[in-house]
């Protein structure tokens, strides 16, 4: 069974939910501790949602320097798939594995709601199983989810097809160009603000639209 690492930082919250999603997708979740540099030979890595280090200083700013992140960064460089969800996306931007940054929601409130998204690219390890243009509904829940990037970066993201998902039916946080998720050029590092791990069972979420993120990566793992 393909093993996918889920990192737990102090304050991570959706790590257990990400692990459940991996399991439901048919993979084997492996818990990784922030202080360990050993990635246990996993074939993909998830940085889960939550409030690592209480969002002190800036969201993801302190987690970015955890020992485990050194290993994650070098694994990403070798093509290992890495998915950053919500706080994980913030950590990926702080680590400069992805461009831009996440800031306070424009309306200043935490918002939790079922959000329509359009998956725009199937050329990433995490979205290979979706049809480009596919619409899914998954929960978005954050207070610091507004994606910002300078015009050059935005042009590059658009031009090179690096936008993975966009908000539909209302932008929950003011992200520029309704960007909900992006990828690096190699397609192995993806950051996503909404939570696919909360849409993997019809019983506990708005459907199973998020399962595709986890089943996609099981098709294209790269040993860390």
């Amino acid at each position: 069974m393909i093993r996918i690492g889920v990192v737990t930082f102090p304050g991570s919250l959706d790590d257990r939910d990400a692990a459940r999603a991996v399991r439901l997708a048919g993979g084997e979740p492996v818990r990784l501790w922030h202080r360990d540099t050993d990635l246990a030979g996993v074939e993909a890595i998830i940085l889960p949602g939550g409030f690592s280090y209480g969002d002190y200083l800036r969201t993801g700013a302190i987690a970015r320097f955890s020992p485990v992140m050194d290993s994650v960064i070098s694994a990403a460089g070798r093509g290992v798939p890495v998915l950053g969800i919500c706080n994980g996306f913030q950590i990926l931007c702080e680590s400069q594995l992805l461009p831009g940054a996440l800031t306070r929601n424009n309306h200043l409130h935490f918002i939790c709601r079922d959000q329509r998204l359009r998956i725009e690219s199937d050329r990433t390890a995490w979205t290979a199983g979706y049809q480009p243009g596919a619409e899914i509904v998954i929960p978005v829940k954050n207070g610091e989810g507004r994606y910002v990037a300078d015009p050059d970066t935005l042009a590059r993201l658009d031009g090179d097809g690096l936008v993975v998902a966009r908000y539909l039916g209302g932008n929950p946080n003011g992200s520029v160009a309704d960007i909900a998720g992006i990828t690096n050029p190699a397609g192995n590092v993806v950051g996503l603000m909404p939570h696919p791990e909360h849409a993997v069972e019809a019983l506990t979420g708005p459907g199973t639209g998020g399962l595709g993120f986890f089943t996609s990566v099981l098709r294209r793992p790269v040993r860390a």
């Binding site: 200083l57 800036r58 320097f65 702080e94 940054a101 800031t103 424009n106 200043l108 910002v148």
Partner: protein, 93 residues
């Protein structure tokens, strides 16, 4: 012992909704001459010992501050920072 003070602000082109909320609150309190408000962070770092001695010491401390700011205190993608050295009385050396 000198203190390194780092001020971090969002870059001017980044939307600052907290600053805007503060501006609206000021207006509601009757402060009607406010054109704009930007909100930032200030870090006061007390060093255990000076960085070098003599006239270059303050510059060296400031350089240390800039290093800290660039690496951790500010996210240079969206924030600018300014560093100064404060003496114990709170003034600027």
């Amino acid at each position: 012992m000198p203190r390194v003070v780092v001020d971090v602000m969002l870059k001017p082109e980044i939307l600052d909704p907290q600053g805007q909320a503060v501006q609206r609150a000021l207006e509601r309190l009757g402060f009607d001459r406010v054109m704009s408000v930007r909100q930032g962070k200030r870090f006061e770092i007390e060093l255990a010992e000076p960085v070098g001695t003599g006239p270059g010491a303050a510059d060296a401390a400031a350089e240390l501050g800039r290093d800290m700011a660039a690496k951790l205190l500010a996210n240079t993608v969206i924030e600018d920072f300014a560093v100064r050295i404060a003496d114990d009385a709170g003034g600027t050396a």
